[in-house]
């Protein structure tokens, strides 16, 4: 495996201090992808995205072109862009909305044209105050430039784009919860079926929900063709993808990497990427795709960054965030903190998730404090089993949405990989790392 040097598809402007301005955007080929799209029919634009086999970059990895095609039997009414990036240790959309908002706007208008919708909502996480300002400013400029609004670039196509601020709730990243929130309600996920947004979405009308990074790929695909995108990567994982690397690495950050060609080892250790683990320490474990994903150990470090490859190894690429833990990390404490997160963010609709996450947090808490019992390990796994029967991957589900079955990942990973550490906490009444 190797670090390839693919074209920068979504990060080409990030070297400029003024990457968020219309002037810089236009000087670097901005809105040319939209002009190329408007010269085609909407069907041709969909076909181009199909040819790219662009997988959605939000976490589930569903092919964007197929998502759009599912809608063609219904009149699509709304396009909603999911910018509610909240999966812990994921910070790629944060970068895109703050640093290249015009690229997002251009992608959104291309998608709107392909789907022939006249109103788009960009839902942006409320905590991204600067990102909200940057996207609003970009939209204002894009309206004035004729790239959004009525009769875009004289094509006869019109679309309005509205920035919608979230208000702080992890669950709103789930697309049906996001739609509820956009309707002015609590972010309660809807029961699927029947509430797949493609059938019953915003206000009950057919709706496409796509991620910020997915949209940001579209200008390049329009300019260079779906085939050029599909030529990058390998298998089902085409193109490049943003990976957010955090935790115990010398050089944390967001990297645009060609999918499948590069391994986790490259991402963590290569001098141009993660730059290795600080203080000369060794790798203990890493989380390959957001805290909902089961952990990997040093044995899996040579896996390529590909959706199917990671899935076959028993986890997921998920939201594209990789968290590195060195050998001085307490696995119990890491799993405890992730469990606390889920307990806090469970929306409360489904009993297994609402109650289960609370119980898991309390049991983890007492083990962390050195007050656990040996039978707590079985109790933890039993509670996990009630949320996600079998505690396997891919997970079974007893809840409306996938937040519930995401909870057991860290606990079952930590117990499976580092059972000894739990036992030390329990028998010696405290953490061996403190």
């Amino acid at each position: 495996m190797a670090i390839t040097d693919p074209p920068k598809i979504v990060t080409s402007r990030l070297g400029y201090d003024d990457s968020h301005t219309l002037e810089r955007y236009l000087a670097t080929g901005g809105y040319e992808g939209l002009r190329a799209a408007l010269a085609k029919t909407p069907e041709e634009v969909v076909a181009e995205v199909d040819a790219a086999s662009l997988l959605g970059r939000g976490g589930a990895g569903f092919p964007a072109g197929r998502k759009w095609s599912m809608l063609r039997k219904n009149p699509v009414t709304y396009l909603v862009v999911n910018g509610d990036e909240s999966e812990p240790a994921t910070f790629k959309d944060h970068l895109l909305v703050e640093r290249d908002p015009h690229q997002l706007v251009e992608g959104v208008v291309i998608a709107a044209y392909a789907l022939q919708v006249t109103q788009v909502f960009i839902f942006i996480r409320g905590e991204f105050a600067l990102g909200l300002e940057r996207v609003q400013a970009a939209l204002n400029d894009a309206y004035a430039h004729g790239a959004v609004g009525r009769d875009i670039f004289g094509s006869g196509f019109s679309v309005d784009v509205v920035v919608h601020p979230g208000a702080g709730a992890y669950i709103c990243g789930e697309e049906t919860a996001l739609l509820e929130s956009l309707e002015g309600k609590r972010g309660f996920p809807r029961i699927k079926p029947p509430f797949f947004p493609a059938a019953i979405g915003l206000y009950g009308d057919p709706t496409v929900v796509n991620n910020v990074e997915t949209m940001s790929n579209l200008p390049w695909i329009m300019l260079n063709g779906g085939a050029a995108f599909a030529a990058l990567g390998g298998g089902r994982s085409t193109g490049t993808r943003l990976f957010a690397l955090a935790g115990h690495v010398n050089n944390p950050g967001v990297f645009e990497i060609e999918m499948v060609k590069t391994t986790f080892h490259d991402l963590i250790h290569a001098p141009v990427l993660g730059g290795g683990i600080p203080h000369g320490r060794n790798l203990k474990a890493f989380i390959p795709g957001g805290v909902s994903a089961p952990w990997f150990g040093p044995d899996q470090i040579d896996l390529p960054l590909g959706q199917d490859e990671v899935a076959e190894a028993g986890s997921m690429l998920g939201s594209g965030s990789v968290v590195v833990m060195d050998d001085h990390t307490c696995a119990v404490r890491a799993a405890w903190r992730i469990t606390k997160f889920f307990s806090r963010e469970s929306c409360g609709q489904c009993t297994p998730c609402r109650e289960g996450s609370g119980w898991l947090e309390r049991i983890m808490d007492r083990i962390e404090r050195g007050e656990g019992r040996e039978e707590d390990l079985d109790l933890l796994l039993d509670a996990c089993d009630n949320i996600s029967p079998g505690v396997a991957w891919p997970p079974q589900q007893t809840t409306i949405c996938v937040l519930g079955p995401s909870i057991p990942s860290s606990i079952s990973s930590a117990i499976t990989m580092f059972r000894d550490e739990f036992l030390v906490h329990i028998k010696e009444g405290g953490c061996p790392y403190e």
Partner: protein, 229 residues
């Protein structure tokens, strides 16, 4: 014949949306512009809550009554929605809400120690407000700035990774107003205003919505409970 004796609490007057009494003229103008951007007024509920926080620093009961009238729901529904969301404060907060993330990436970079220091130096626990009303300290979930860990936001503006020493300087600067230009007081979320209304042809949009409505009615006729749609 006399009126039958009514058992139970007295009836309330019907909930006709009252004219707003609390929100200022400027906020009201902007609120109505926001409502006009959505097909359904209720969609503006959360953006309006942010605007009310811009006026008051938090979401006051009087503001919730005004918002209810503006979007056509009861004040209880505004509270019931707002209380679901971390950023909408239905109790007063300080001028600066300082959020320290302690989620996994920040935990690995010393966030727990930073939060402990913050609690000690400010003299309040997470969730508390200093006596002078300057600072509300919060323990935050991941704020998506994990390459600058431990991550801190003030009024939802990133201030970069902090150490205990730099944190004390940050608090001193917030108290003295040294960072006011960069960080507005709590509640002001988006300082860039939208410069246009909706531009797409309203007749075409109306036609589209009508077609969608008819399609929806046709689907519901086949599957009234939505199953199989």
């Amino acid at each position: 014949m006399s009126e039958p004796t009514r058992i139970g609490p007295p009836r309330r007057a019907a909930l006709a949306p009252a004219a707003p009494t609390h929100l200022t003229a400027d906020i009201l103008t902007r609120a109505r512009q926001v409502i006009d951007l959505y097909p359904e007024p209720r969609s503006a509920l959360i953006p309006l809550c942010h605007l009310a926080q811009e006026q008051d620093g938090w979401l006051t009961p009087a503001a919730m009554v005004d918002i209810a009238g503006l979007v056509g729901v009861t004040p209880g529904e505004v509270l019931g929605t707002a209380s679901f969301y971390d950023m909408l404060h239905t109790e007063p907060v300080g001028r600066h809400v300082v959020a320290v993330c302690t989620n996994i990436a920040c935990l690995l970079s010393g966030a727990a120690e930073l939060l402990e220091h913050a609690e000690d130096s400010l003299g309040v626990g997470a969730g508390g407000t200093t006596r002078d009303g300057a600072i509300t300290l919060e323990e935050a979930e991941c704020l998506a700035d994990c390459d600058r860990a431990p991550c801190v936001q003030v009024n939802h503006r990133y201030v970069g990774a902090q150490t205990p020493g730099s944190f004390d300087q940050l608090v001193a600067d917030l108290r003295s107003g040294a960072r006011d230009a960069e960080i507005p007081t709590h509640g002001t979320l988006i300082r860039v205003r939208r410069t246009t209304g909706l531009e797409a042809d309203p007749d075409a949009v109306a036609d589209e919505r009508r077609a969608a409505g008819e399609a929806r009615a046709a689907r519901e006729a086949v599957a009234p409970d939505g199953v199989g749609a």
